[in-house]
Symmetry: C2
Subunit: 433 residues, 2 copies
């Protein structure tokens, strides 16, 4: 099996390392010699420093995609521009493709899977979700006997690192982000990570596999962590919760909800204890119950571990048949069916609210009356003195399960009280039971 690597940056370098250093190990497991036969990178000098001089290096990746020597193309340049053209052309040329490109799959997956199907080749993407954790395999194969009820994942290492630092070392968001950038856990432009877009790509893909629906990236509700206040992390802790950027997908008979937002999770849950840049995905199957998959979600070698697992799968399968073993999205293509996608206003959650109000007599009665009039019960409420002088005490509380549109009405009513001094902070809670 001759592999062509497009892009020899972090993950590309890692993939080269795995295929060369573990060559014997992989041969002993598969009986197949899996070799890097060509590398394409714009930066030929860099490529020459990384790969053996015996391997041809080309500056134009289309040359690799057209090469008769190559059986399988690994696309590791990312993005949805040239990467899409390369992947499509490789598939049209009858080559298998392995990619770690979550944006590409989340935005053009179905089109590309169809091209692969028509050309009797495979397009594999284990590395696109949660790096080294074999979660696509778990969903499509290991849990195939189950109807998946929901998925809740920490699938972005940058934000999990920042949230861990904010909680454990009492850092502000800005300081934690700067530290993440210095340590290489966050990019110079961290927008995609901290605003939840990266996590949204990943949960979109997982939701499709879990529920047998098309890939619905545009329908995902996304809220990042950049507005998160350290105070809320501390208060959540007092209430027995940790705040994580959770990517959530749920389904019942008729409808599906897919969303990414900072979420309060009971601290006793295993997933609440996933710290630093690590990832974890919690999957609830109707038969197996909750299962969790944990590991490094990024980095050269962990991501390459998933890329090479895909290569091995394809190598093993192509010895048996050219037919595909597992449908690209886990369900037979003709059984993939859209379900109703809930708008965030229609989603039911428990909520954490933090109020900034002038402390006048009768205030709590006013607030609790507003909740009562909307038929929402308050499960916990703390009225907290703030140490500095001249500051009104903080009020924070946890509601029962309500539809988001209802809580928005309550918030509007409280914010229009004369005592109200600032926007109310609203965070969603997931019990994950």
């Amino acid at each position: 099996m001759n592999v062509g690597l497009i892009g020899i940056g972090t993950v590309g370098g890692g993939t080269y390392k795995v295929l060369t250093e573990n060559f014997q190990e992989i041969l002993h497991k598969t009986g197949i010699e899996i070799k890097v036969a060509m590398v394409a990178d714009k930066d030929i000098d860099l490529a020459e420093k990384i790969v053996s001089s015996a391997i041809p290096i080309v500056g134009d990746a289309f040359e690799l995609v057209e090469s008769k020597e190559i059986d399988l193309v690994v696309e590791l340049i990312g993005g949805t521009g040239i990467a899409k053209d390369l992947v499509k052309q490789a598939l049209l040329n009858g080559k298998h493709v392995v990619t770690a490109n979550k944006a590409l799959i989340a935005m053009h997956g179905e089109e590309l899977f169809a091209v692969a199907e028509d050309n009797n080749v495979q397009l594999a993407y284990e590395a696109a979700v949660a790096g080294g954790i074999p979660i696509i395999k778990a969903l499509r194969e290991g849990l195939a006997a189950n109807k998946i009820e929901w998925i809740a994942g920490i699938v972005n290492g940058t934000t999990n690192y920042i949230l861990t630092e904010m909680k454990e070392n009492n850092l502000s968001f800005d300081v934690a982000l700067k530290q993440a950038q210095e340590l290489g856990f966050a990019e110079a432009d961290p927008t995609f990570d901290i605003e939840g877009v990266d996590a949204a790509h990943k949960i979109t893909i997982m939701a499709s596999i879990a529920f047998g629906i098309p890939i619905n990236f545009d329908a995902v509700f996304v809220e990042g962590i950049s507005n998160l206040n350290q105070k809320d992390i501390t208060y959540a802790e007092e209430l027995g919760y940790r705040i994580k950027l959770l990517a959530i997908a749920k389904s019942d008979q008729e409808s599906v909800e897919i969303r990414v937002h900072p979420t309060l999770i009971p601290e006793a849950r295993l997933v609440a204890n996933v710290s630093g840049p690590m990832n974890a995905v919690l999957v609830k199957g109707n038969m197996v119950g909750p299962t969790l998959y944990y590991g490094a979600g990024a980095g050269a070698e962990p991501t390459a571990s998933a890329v090479v697992a895909d290569i091995i799968d394809i190598a093993r399968q192509s010895q048996l048949s050219t037919k595909k073993l597992i449908p690209s999205l886990g369900f037979m293509p003709n059984k993939i069916k859209q379900k109703k996608l809930l708008a965030i206003e229609d989603v039911w959650s428990e909520f954490y609210l933090r109020l900034t109000m002038a402390n006048k007599a009768g205030l709590l009665a006013k607030i609790t009356n507003i909740f009562a009039s909307h038929d929402i019960s308050i499960d916990a409420m703390i009225h907290k003195e703030v140490q500095e002088t001249n500051q009104d005490p903080d009020i924070f509380l946890v509601t029962s399960k309500v539809q988001e549109s209802q809580i928005n009405q309550v918030i509007k009513a409280i914010e229009s009280l004369p005592e109200n001094k600032d926007k109310i902070i609203k965070l969603r809670i997931e019990e994950l039971k």
Copy 2:
């Protein structure tokens, strides 16, 4: 695909439920109708209560194994007697076999895999290790790009439930065991679970897949939890550790160690926070780093989830080819090679020791001198007053990493001091980094 179920007890009933209730879901994923076509159980009355009257029930399982109607036999009676004969005969008759029988695979796996190979059928056993967690698939496929360095698993729910209760509710071992039995988490005769034999079966199988070695059940060191004192759980906690029954397998170039014993784990590790009857397996790959797989390790439906995942894999594969996709033990049969198996005396660990000594002047000096003379450093030592009168204080400590034979000499030397009043308690520590 016509499935014959042998044994309609807990897991058999669960398997029937998964295949019938999730029939449509599985059909949409595979395009294959997977049906229970026959059931065998000695207790025909019981079977009639569970399965539809449209399905033939036989009292003699060999009748099922001989039936021309059956493509795949699911063996769920357990043990290594009649179960072995049935599995072997089914394979000889050209039927695929799926089993949840860890003892059978740990003791006769290689013989049976060879029979399967000769008859061009598959013998699958995902459910034999860690119930519903797809750990065999993770090891053989998801992590196939890695050289596995070590595995550390909580793979017995009974003992994890007991240890959780001992820690969280301050119960003695006996009381916690009784409670586990009342709740159905422990059998009437719990020996196999509490003495570590069940965990040893499972780690033996995982070690073979991870390291490409034969199945070495007889070489596993096994120590159960029945002698564990509540005191040590409390003291371990004071030192920042939790005690878990850990099934451990490690490998380097030349040698392998496989062992099951109560183990102190740093409480910050995710696996230390796996509580109640849940299972988790931590796997360290040379490229991916540590990954963890968590879920229900027993019970009707979780175990059935793994049984049916195997059935789905075989159904999907047999549409492509009669050739096997993945080698039974993850490595090509001719590449499976024995490594040197370390005796427990040769294994390196940190240790927790608890000493019961008369409190005389110069005692600590005597003890620390013994350690110094064996060149072992003490990383932590607590000399603890016991509240009741007339009792000597407890001394407990943590050593640096030493070979077990060395610590045994130290223990012998301390136990022969005139101040010594009881056998020294020795527990192993794993940092799991």
